[in-house]
Amino acid sequence: MHLNLYRRLRGDPWFVLGAGLALALGLLLLASPWLIRHDPYAMDFVPLSAPSAQHWLGVNDGGMDIWAELLTGFGNTLIFGLFTGLLGLGLGVAVGLSCAWFRGLYDLCLMRLADLLLAIPAVLVLILLAAYLRPSAWLLALVLALMAWPTSARVIRAQALTLQERSHLLAARQMGGSSFYLLGRHLLPELFPLYLIGFAALVRMAVFMEASLSFLGLFDPGRKSLGMMVGRALPYYYLEIGWYWLLPPVLLLTMLLLSITLLAVSLEKIFDPRLKEHW
């Protein structure tokens, strides 16, 4: 199955483009310790100086090297997205599978909770939290994951319910396999494609939200991020200073979201066209 999967993915131009972009961005992130030549938090230089050999992208209003700021912010944004995605997916898988397996009251309660959370817009809750508490990125990731699990949980639950009726699973159950064994050995791996799709959707949502919130100045102000850089650079652009400051974070953010979106689109297309557009 996995060889076949590889062949199908390789044949999809969106996947190739998205994966190539993701690879390039990943390499950039891995290489950033060597590429950053200045401390991104140190205010050592002449504020608002244009790009030069010393400062590839110039210096911001606080006297910080923009190139160093850009790579640090990019890393922060990406790590926030991946962490939130993993957390949300973990919750979604745990809830979705266990609901499909145990059903009954447990299922009913969790699914009504999912309805409730789906009705509440996460962004606005995050804004409310951030405005009052100035929480850390980790706390925001946790809240976001806690609010975002229902979508993947529902998809996984629905798929697991149909899967349970397949003959090999019924046979395995008849032979006396324990719940733990059946779940871990049969159900969990067979839904693998759904995890990929759900993960891509969650990471995309998290990156998008982090960028929006930090642009609005609602993330930890001491933490570098691409959205925050855009928000800081914008007023200076009105004064005709620093296109070199505004464009790089915008471009990098676009490339990041583009690669996630392309990967998500191709994964959906390949695994389950019916899931299209559910995020």
Binding site: L116, Y132, L133, T254
Partner: protein, 317 residues
Amino acid sequence: MMSVLWRRGVVYLLAALAIVYVGYRLPGLLPGDYVTTVYGGAEVVLTADQEQLLRARYAAADNFFSYLQNLLLLDWGESWAHKTPVFTLIMAALPWTLLLMGGAHLLATALGMIAGVEAAWRRGGRLEKAGVGSMTLLQGVPELALGVVLLLVFSYQLGWLPAGGGLSAYAEAGTGGLLLDLLRHLLLPLATLVLAWFPGNFLLARASMVLVLRQPFLVTARAKGLPPWRVRYRHAARNVLLPLVTRFGLRLAFMVTGALVVETLFAYPGLGTLLYQAISLRDLPLVQGIVLAAILALLAVNLGLELLYGRLDPRTW
């Protein structure tokens, strides 16, 4: 039908209560004393009278039910920065947001649906492939980037359109001048939102339409000799509305974020900009009021959509 109405209604009511409760509890979660924490910075200096007034106000809301009652009576507190009731400020900014978001949504949906239907009709053609390709790419670009690029090109490099605001300070007196000024200011934020929302609608409309086109009832419609546009729009496109409505509900929260970012970017005088300013000034009653209003409006719209969905597709009831 009534039972579905009840079930959905209860879910939305619970969601609303939960969120209002969060809003009620949040001020209390602030470390230390509320008033000192908020006014502790150097930005605002309080007189003793003001401080007492503020303390009194936040002591008053110590009961969730009285808080709820005040909300229902449209007493949303008073903005610290504007010294005006929060509800009045929200009502003043709301028309701008409705104009921008409503206009962008109508355009993005109508254009997306027509383009999607036409693309599906020409499936396999070069135009369709180019459309799907470019829209898939555009789908991955965030509003923030679209807005910045439009701003750079049309406002700064070309100088064709104003960079921000809703109206010029001294817009021409006549109605024509005022309207033109309004439109000129609306164009860039509107274009950003339409560009951000159009691709998804287009791709979804096209995908649903491709499925519909295979259905036997369309063969019948064509066999009856109906003109092609009638087959396309009266018979086939009706079925595309359903997924579009669903998508709208699912994406509503994202749309609000997008509109928030775009309003801030273009300093458009709607709720988003009001919220942004309130956040920058730490005008917490205003932040809370706007966010609560937005959440309650979203819940109401979502409930409405679910009911509409039932009308569009009687099978779901």
